[in-house]
């Protein structure tokens, strides 16, 4: 099992979710995060004081999947999230040791 962590633009959330759902993925977890990267930030001005803000609002989508699904998922997410402009974000893949569904106590694949 793998955890795929997608960091991308907030307004792409729905499209990424759709594309994952189409692959039969039934669960994911989303966090609002702030990203620092190549994408330049913006200026803010308050009473004449200028502030450069480097952090951009991003969403992090975490989804744990069976390893076999990985290529498809990576493919689908990239298609859904890509705009081609700087700031599209990253996909990270992490190893997972185990998964448990709290409700039933199932673990491993069945729990995903």
């Amino acid at each position: 099992m793998k955890k795929v962590e997608i960091i991308t633009r907030p307004f792409k959330l729905d499209e990424v979710k759709e594309s994952l759902t189409k692959l039969g993925i039934k669960g994911m977890t989303v966090t609002e995060v702030k990203g620092f990267g190549r994408q330049r930030g913006h200026k803010e001005v308050y009473r004449g004081a200028e502030y450069q803000v480097d952090f951009m609002p991003k969403v992090k989508i975490e989804v744990v999947i069976e390893e076999t699904l990985l290529p498809e998922v990576l493919q689908a997410v990239q298609e859904a999230a890509r705009t081609g402009k700087v700031g599209d974000g990253k996909i990270f893949v992490f190893p997972v040791d185990d998964v448990i569904r709290i409700r039933t106590g199932e673990s491993g694949r069945e729990a995903i």
Partner: protein
């Protein structure tokens, strides 16, 4: 000069002034959080810029010496001759300045109402230019027609506190604006949900509170009529708030707080032209029907596909039309001997007069606004670019963020 009348009008003017920031909150709460400041700004700046327009030339165009029933003359330009003495022509028991400023508050809020139609996408610079032009070329003449000695008042059209001048005019301009500027990015696809409903409800509360000044103050003196207008205003707001939530309860299974607030505003709009011409029970009916009409009214936009973001057409446009016609139905000389009887009190011709005023107001405001918007668009462009819209007006137009909680 009458002291009690003067207190009444000054306090009313303060209340109407308070409505504009109230509107800013009402609208601001309904936008997405990245556009709340931009939206508040568009209302709030009217307090600044339209005040200047009003004292420099707007008041004169509205209430200056009548020219052919169409527009006021330039005799009051820069408030020349508008002083502490009562004017012989308007509100003769209060300082002319008090009348001027009371009227000014109406001129301020009217263009602010339009902003709901193009919320979340209009350039601030274009907005400013449009608003200055609109106040000069649409509002001032209309105001003159109805209250400044112009043809519409002369024809006998009844508009107690601005059904035509304020609501139909802004509602029609809103429709023009929604059409000219086009829908927001993602309209019909993404969800646009209000980011802060307590803010919207606070705004609605301030509007309701201020509307007492708007409608009762329009009696321009403290008397039984003012009390009547106060009462009809309150009743219509209440009735429309109730009818709106009941009808949405029916349709969607739940009554909503946004429905409550929307209904209250719809009722307040509907009673505006009628407040000093109808009695309490008529107000009940006008308000109740107003809530229902506007509830269905806001669905027009999905039918016709224009993006009137915060439902100015549905609420101020339709509510204003209904109010004007309702005045032609329910007006009674028993309430206001200086008014007229409506259809239900034996005078069908009043309904016709009201109808004419509705058509004239809506057509004039729609067409003139449409042209003005096209002009402004060709000069500086109405709309922010896609990236700025995506980022939100707060950052792209004002370099600010609303919340850093």
């Amino acid at each position: 000069m009458n002291g009690a009348d003067t207190v009444f009008i000054l306090v009313s003017a303060a209340l109407v002034m308070f409505m504009t920031p109230g509107l800013a909150l009402f609208y601001g709460g309904m936008t997405r959080s990245k556009n709340v400041l931009g939206t508040i700004m568009q209302s709030f700046i009217c307090l600044g810029i339209i005040t200047l327009v009003w004292i420099l030339w707007g008041y004169s165009l509205s209430f200056g010496k009548d020219i052919g029933g169409l527009i006021g003359g330039l005799n009051f330009i820069g408030l020349k001759g508008v002083g502490m003495e009562p004017s012989p022509d308007y509100a003769s028991t209060i300082p002319h300045l008090a009348f001027m400023i009371f009227q000014g508050m109406f001129a301020i809020i009217t263009p602010a109402l339009i902003t709901g139609a193009f919320a979340e996408r209009m350039k601030f610079s274009a907005f400013l230019l449009f608003t200055i032009l609109w106040t000069t070329i649409v509002y001032s003449p209309l105001c003159h027609w109805v209250w400044g000695g112009g043809w519409m008042g002369a024809m006998g059209a009844l508009d107690f506190a601005g059904g035509a001048v304020v609501h139909m005019s802004s509602g029609s301009a809103a429709l023009a604006a929604a059409l000219v500027i086009g829908p927001r990015r993602g309209f019909g696809k993404r969800s646009f949900v209000p980011h802060n409903l307590p803010m919207t409800l606070t705004g609605a509360a301030i509007l309701w509170f201020g509307w007492f000044g708007f409608n009762a103050g329009s009696a321009l003196a403290i008397n039984g009529l003012a009390a009547n207008a106060f009462v009809t205003t309150h009743i219509a707001a209440a009735a429309a708030a109730v009818s709106w939530i009941f009808i949405e309860w029916m349709h969607h299974g739940k009554p909503t707080t946004l429905g409550l607030a929307s209904g209250a505003v719809a009722g307040l709009v509907a009673i505006t032209p009628a407040a000093g011409f109808v009695g309490p029970l008529s107000a009940l009916v006008i308000g109740f029907a107003g809530g229902i009409i506007c509830f269905y009214g806001i669905h027009l936009k999905s039918k016709f596909g224009y993006d009137d973001s915060l439902d100015v057409v549905g609420i101020h446009g339709l509510g204003g039309v209904w109010g004007a016609l309702a005045t032609g139905l329910f007006a009674s000389k028993m309430i206001n001997p200086d008014g007229a009887n409506g259809l239900f009190f034996g005078n069908p011709s009043q309904l016709w007069i009201q109808f004419v005023s509705v058509v004239a107001t809506c057509v004039f405001s729609f067409v003139a606004s449409f042209v003005l918007l096209k002009i402004v668009d060709s000069i500086i462009g109405l709309r922010v670019n896609d990236e700025d819209e995506e980022q939100g007006l707060d950052l792209s137009e004002h370099s600010e963020r609303a919340y850093q909680l």
